[in-house]
């Protein structure tokens, strides 16, 4: 019995990395979902700009928070607008792997 004293604490310390890892995974998933929501909003903002005959890129950038400025890519093909956004991640490769995209289409003037 005396030899097992503190065993729970040791196990808890050993479990902390697992809990932290699970928390990081959850946070990464939440960040990815949030990025998808942002990409949706940005794609709609860009489409509204296209429908008004305005360039889409400023509208897309205006619909995104500051941290997404260098993480977004905009592709436009006539009335189709695709916004690709890399979510925040501690690993750049992971951010690339979890890149989200949102596409919208709107009738353009003329």
């Amino acid at each position: 019995m005396a030899a097992e004293r503190g065993q729970a604490s040791i196990e808890l310390v050993a479990a902390v990395p697992a809990i932290l890892l699970a928390a990081l995974v959850c946070l990464q998933l939440l960040a990815t979902g949030y990025s998808l929501t942002l990409a949706d909003g940005a794609a709609e903002a860009g489409a509204l700009a296209l429908a008004s005959g305005l360039p889409a890129e400023p509208a897309v950038e205006g619909a995104l928070p500051g941290w997404a400025g260098d993480r977004v890519e905009v592709d436009r093909d006539d009335g189709r607008l695709t916004v690709r956004l890399r979510p925040p991640s501690p690993l750049m490769s992971l951010a690339h792997a979890l890149e989200v995209s949102s596409t919208s289409w709107v009738r353009r003037p003329g």
């Binding site: 097992e4 004293r5 729970a8 196990e11 479990a15 699970a22 919208s104 289409w105």
Partner: protein
């Protein structure tokens, strides 16, 4: 150090030596009590008779006996036990010295009286792991209870033995062999309780694995929370995307309307009667808008059968509003979620729609405030223009060429005319002329009056003034305004669109487009001016009281019929 069990007896009771011996045998032989090949040292304190070795003894007992004798002690191997006798006077020192070489013993069992036990305990000679108190119960129950309470401060376990082993069992035990029978079973149970570690409660049985449930619980809570948020986020995203599809579909339809808006007002036929490909009928205009909405919905991930397009102002002559309703079914964590989203978009008509250079496309200045269509340079409501187009084409087929002399005239323009000729009999005060409604047309030439009187009704127009008034054409030359003499082109018939047509419905995109002629002034029939012929007395007051006799609204012209 082997475990040490101190066995003592209350005054008046006996048999502690046999109990101690049986306990030692049980410890040495019972596997459940940790039995092994090692011997148990049985120590007797006090003036008891010496005991010699037995013929049969365990090897461990023999080895221990030899070790003790080498140390100058009086020891004897007896069965499973090694007996050691200590004098009462030097029991404290002797026990400390005797226990030292017994490191190889399985256990040390000391038998003594209660007084001797107290002496050993007070002197600190022994620190027993357990104490067995021999007392005759129930006679000595109270005393045994008091003694046991005191002894619990000295050892972790204190047991009271209420009766002896019996004569035969005692002799066997003292000889170092199992007492046998019920006594043996009783002593074995006692040995297990004294030496075998008590089974702790399950909650504290071991700390091993105690953190695992906590860690697993934490991870489960995290994953569950993440899944819950993911499901919620999925529902929000799906709803948002459905709304986006509705928004963009409505916007695309409005975009189509705006792009096609001008074509609504283009004459359907050229002056030579050739169909004009630039003209777009209203039904096709709406169909193109609906097609644009459906296409946008499909390209944004919504099936066409889930899209419903409506035009709230579809009854107007130039609809500009589109309502799109999208019904979607979302799959949220396996559960179907029905979502209905609706969006309404409204197109702003282009500012230069069908307007000649320098002319406004939207009426301003008071009165009608909607879009204007221009025919022969004169502004009018688009639906009036469309009706005129049809009538002009029919007139052309009959060899008549219609000329528009005046159409829409804002309150501001009427005010300018009235300022030049402030005679209400000839020029209507601002706000009283029906020209402000953009539904009035002054048509000519006089040669077409007969055809107009016979056919204008087919195209939704109503004759307001008798065409005989055309005879006044030359007569108007007597009316001057600003030195400008009116030509005969200024006297024309005036036609109104029927009240049942779109003229009553106004232009839906702006409430300002509503045109009121509640104060429209009708010149007196008995006056010197032209006679009035109200075509249809069943019409609303705004029409029956109205009369328009207007010539051109050009700034340098004036007319006695600017009413």
């Amino acid at each position: 150090m082997p475990p040490l069990i101190l066995c003592c007896e209350l005054p008046g009771s006996s048999g502690v030596v046999a109990v101690a011996a049986a306990l030692g045998v049980a410890i040495a032989t019972d596997p459940k009590a940790g039995g092994s090949t090692e011997s148990v040292l049985r120590v007797e304190v006090g003036e008891r008779r010496p005991r010699g070795p037995t013929m049969l003894a365990a090897d461990g007992a023999r080895s221990l006996e030899q070790a003790l004798r080498d140390g100058g002690r009086e020891a004897a191997a007896r069965g499973h036990l090694t007996w050691l006798r200590l004098e009462r006077d030097d029991a404290v020192e002797a026990l400390e010295a005797a226990v030292e070489p017994t490191a190889g013993a399985r256990a040390v069992v000391v038998a003594c009286s209660s007084a001797e036990a107290r002496g050993l305990l007070d002197a600190g000679a022994v620190q027993p792991d357990a104490i067995v108190l021999r007392a005759d119960l129930p006679a000595q129950r109270a005393l045994a209870a008091l003694a046991a309470r005191d002894l619990r401060a000295e050892a972790a376990r204190v047991k009271v033995v209420g009766r002896g082993l019996g004569r035969v069992a005692s002799r066997r035990a003292v000889a170092g062999i199992d007492p046998g029978g019920e006594a043996s079973r009783r002593v074995r149970r006692l040995a297990r309780k004294l030496l075998v570690a008590p089974r702790p409660s399950p909650a504290i049985a071991s700390e091993a694995g105690q953190a695992l449930p906590l860690a697993l619980g934490g991870i489960f809570a995290l994953v569950f929370g993440a899944l819950l948020l993911a499901a919620f986020g999925g529902a929000v995203t799906g709803t948002s995307r459905t709304q986006r599809a509705a928004d963009l579909a409505a916007l695309s339809a409005a975009r189509s309307m705006r792009d096609d808006f001008e074509r609504l007002f283009v004459p359907p036929r050229s002056p030579r009667g050739v169909p004009n490909p630039a003209h777009l009928p209203k039904q096709e205009y709406l169909a193109r808008a609906e097609q644009a909405a459906v296409e946008a919905a499909e390209r944004n991930g919504v099936a066409s059968e889930r899209v419903e397009v409506d035009f709230p102002d579809g009854d107007s002559f130039a609809p500009l509003r589109t309502a799109v309703e999208v019904r979607a079914k979302l799959d949220v964590s396996g559960a179907g979620l029905s979502v209905e989203q609706r969006a309404v978009a409204e197109a702003v008509p282009p500012s230069d729609a069908s307007a000649p250079a320098g002319q406004p496309a939207t009426a301003i200045g008071g009165g009608y405030s909607g879009p204007l269509a221009y025919r022969q340079g004169e502004p009018m409501r688009p639906d009036v223009a469309a009706a005129f187009d049809r009538m002009a084409a029919a007139a052309g087929a009959a060899g008549q060429s219609l000329v528009i002399n005046s159409a829409y005239r804002s309150d501001a323009e009427q005010a300018a005319l009235f300022a030049e000729n402030p005679d209400p009999q000839w020029v209507a005060p601002p706000g009283t002329s029906l020209h402000r409604c953009a539904t009035e047309l002054d048509l000519g030439p006089p040669s077409a009056y007969g055809w107009l009187a016979a056919n204008a009704g087919r195209f939704g127009f109503v004759q307001r003034y008798s065409w005989e008034f055309a005879n006044c054409g030359e007569g108007t030359s007597s009316f001057r305004s600003g030195g400008v003499i009116r030509s005969n082109r200024l006297t024309r018939l005036t036609f109104k669109r029927r009240a049942s047509s779109a003229s009553q419905k106004g232009f839906s995109i702006s409430p300002r487009s509503a045109c009121s002629t509640g104060t429209t002034r009708v010149p007196s029939r008995s006056g010197a001016g032209p006679r009035m012929n109200i075509a249809n007395r069943s019409r609303s007051a705004s029409f029956t009281r109205a009369t328009v006799f207007a010539p051109s609204r050009r700034p340098r012209t004036a007319s006695p019929s600017s009413l």
